[in-house]
Symmetry: C2
Subunit: 434 residues, 2 copies
């Protein structure tokens, strides 16, 4: 009996040690849920990878969700991305073949290397790839976000993805210009404007004409294909002065308008109403801060303009990186899943910075800040005090960015404080110019 | 004693069950190393996230590696990405501040939202972001790959990233054209050429002039800034006919050349020598197959041309998605880490497809395939048989893609086989036209 109990103690010890090892492995990071969350997102990726699509298709993490019964593992509570079938195959699991399907030997998309990456999926963290360039799931999330924030009406509008607002602004100019214009299309912005607008116009098809207000009293031809065509930029809220802007020229056959709504989010402005213009541009950079992801989207009412947009995108860069689309989708899920947190954080930070700067500058006679008014915000359901990203820039003005890192802002504030107190010292010493 | 041993049995049972639960959790995917590999790559991400950079900077997964002593945890065997400091901070761990540093209030990069994403890093799988647009680490890996494959000399060349070869070809035309040309720059390609070249030329600054050979006997002005400027595309291996091409026109002050080397990889061609031209374009799409990632790079000898390239990139899309750069880096690590596997797999697949197609077509009198010759490949150190991506296209020719999925190729082969056997049946019945 003694020998038995000794064996048992040994077994128990071994088992306990194993438990400790395993538990420490699982809880390696000190008990928080990081590993669990990684396992969860890995499980999501693996669930998707395990959808076999009969060997004739692929399911993608950002594919359209489906509850189709013949998709193994999918049900109403736990929809899975649906299969995207190889050509000539169809059905929820791509098991059907259509014998009348023509053999397609076009396209240079090198799908032949896929088996290599399936084999090395682990080390490259690649679970297949997409052959198509627009994620419908991402489009749906963007529509949902606009509905929740109440800043743009997406109903009845086409959506185009681009590499940030920069590429989309180029695409918009192209899409709104006549195909073979008798004279260059004239591009207008309202002072103060974002300087990139001007430098982008580097083709003989376009001419930068400067301030819209110069053309305010012009009467424009009322028929299409007139000899002179205008495109006006309306940046609202404006960069740099944060004002909500309206078009200066009336839209008409020879006057088209691009609404740059990059800053039309509750971090930077009150949202007084749902924007519903014919061509609106948004960018991830100003929504979430991920500037280097280069992602933006356009909402377009007219189908002809939409098709010209797609033309431009396909000639210019053949669409937007699918990796970027996948990451954007992940970010949007966080934004939508955390209630008002991003907007409250963003608005809180820019407002605090604006107030600190106001406090420093209010002691100065040399410097002043532009006056901004409070407005009712339909998103926060409250009057919101100003929280601009920048402030005014002209000859006598300077644009200060309030959206850089805290280090940058703190240092700006210190230097401003030093300048203002120098001014006071100077005054006490009799007002000599320095 | 009996009661004690009962307690022990219970304890042991409990412990063993816990063992089983924990073990099954750890080995959830059936004993392969997937979870371990995920934990490893997560550890990598966490190691990087844990580099504090004194709170005044960030380290990135694809940052430049450093073994600096004052970077906690870094040593010669295990270098960590170095800190990229906020402005005005410096030192390996960003702990030094330079008080003479001017406050920078320019730039619209919205870094102010970073704390929100640091907090939600788990669910969004985001470990910070980059403010800069070129990953030096990625550049280094691309240089290494060219050296290993022996297909391009990167020494003394600038590298520019673009959204696939499409955007880089646009950028190259812009960079090689005079800034304000007296007449449109004339663009030439050699028949058969990639049709996108022609459709990309949609600006009044450029004119598509068609086949290079038409200009073969022209004598070009010998001074710069002449009234007519030419750019010739040299696609080598050519799309669609897989031929290795040389420039038709002599390079000179008014004749510039763009080498499109998208297919200059051992999957598609023998590599007879190191390419060393002044402007070469490569794309991830044809190297790894990840077409939808939209990533390519240009190697540029001349600094002036390089700067015009950067201009174009910044005006057109403000650089290339950092997410795409990070994924490309991961893919390159796999390519470099698996020896010749990718190239052997790629070459094997295209060669087999080419041979199958040849076999079917050899029975036909109506169809024939172009003749391709075997060459010595410096990479495989062997004479390699042809493995083209496409074959010839003209009025009497058709381009067939051999790099699509296996399903697509199998169906193409079946349809070709049917066509050829129909031809034989037809012949046996007296040669009536069908």
């Amino acid at each position: 009996m003694k020998r038995y109990s000794w064996v048992w103690v040994l077994l128990l010890c071994f088992s306990v040690i194993l438990n400790l090892l395993l538990a420490s492995y699982v809880l390696i990071d000190g008990g928080n849920s990081k590993i669990l969350s990684i396992l969860r997102s890995t499980k999501e990726a693996e669930d998707v990878a395990s959808i076999s699509c009969s060997g004739h298709g692929r399911a993608f993490l950002d594919g359209i969700l489906s509850t189709a019964n013949n998709l193994e593992g999918a049900n109403e509570d736990d929809p899975l991305p649906s299969c995207e079938c190889n050509s000539c195959y169809y059905g929820a699991d791509c098991s059907q073949f259509s014998p009348d399907c023509p053999a397609d030997a076009d396209s240079g998309d090198p799908m032949f290397l896929e088996p290599f990456w399936m084999k090395h999926a682990e080390s490259s963290a690649v679970s297949g790839w997409h052959g198509t360039f627009i994620s419908k799931e991402l489009e749906r999330h963007l529509q949902e976000l606009h509905a929740v924030v109440g800043n743009a009406n997406t109903t009845g509008k086409f959506m185009v993805f681009g590499a940030g607002s920069t590429q989309l602004l180029n695409a918009a100019i192209y899409a709104l210009s006549p195909q073979d214009p008798p004279s260059p299309t004239r591009i207008l912005g309202s002072i103060p404007f974002y300087p990139l607008y001007k430098s982008q116009i580097n083709s003989k098809n376009f001419e930068w004409e400067g301030d819209t207000s110069m053309w305010k009293n012009t009467s424009f031809p009322s028929e299409y294909n007139s000899s002179v065509n205008f495109i006006q930029f309306v940046t609202s809220p404006n960069n740099p002065d944060a004002e909500l802007k309206e078009p200066v020229l009336l839209e008409g056959p020879s006057v088209k308008t691009i609404f740059d709504h990059s800053y039309y989010w509750p971090h930077y402005t009150a949202i007084p109403a749902l924007a519903n213009e014919d061509l609106m541009i948004f960018t991830l950079s100003k929504l979430t801060g991920h500037a280097s992801s280069r992602f933006g989207w356009a909402l377009i009412k007219d189908q002809g303009v939409y098709e010209r947009f797609l033309d431009y995108m396909s000639l210019n860069s053949f669409g937007v990186s699918r990796d970027t689309q996948l990451r954007t989708l992940k970010l949007l899920k966080v934004v939508l899943g955390t209630g008002k947190e991003l907007f409250e954080f963003g608005h809180g930070t820019t407002r605090t910075r604006w107030e600190s700067l106001n406090k420093v500058v209010s002691a100065s006679k040399r410097f002043s800040l532009q006056k901004l008014i409070s407005r009712y915000c339909t998103y926060f359901q409250n009057i919101t005090v100003p929280s601009p990203a920048f402030f005014h820039a002209e000859n006598l003005y300077v644009r200060l960015s309030l959206i850089k890192s805290q280090d940058d802002f703190d240092w700006l504030l210190q230097r401003m404080t030093a300048l203002v107190s120098q001014e006071q010292v100077h005054e006490e010493h009799g007002g000599k110019t320095i």
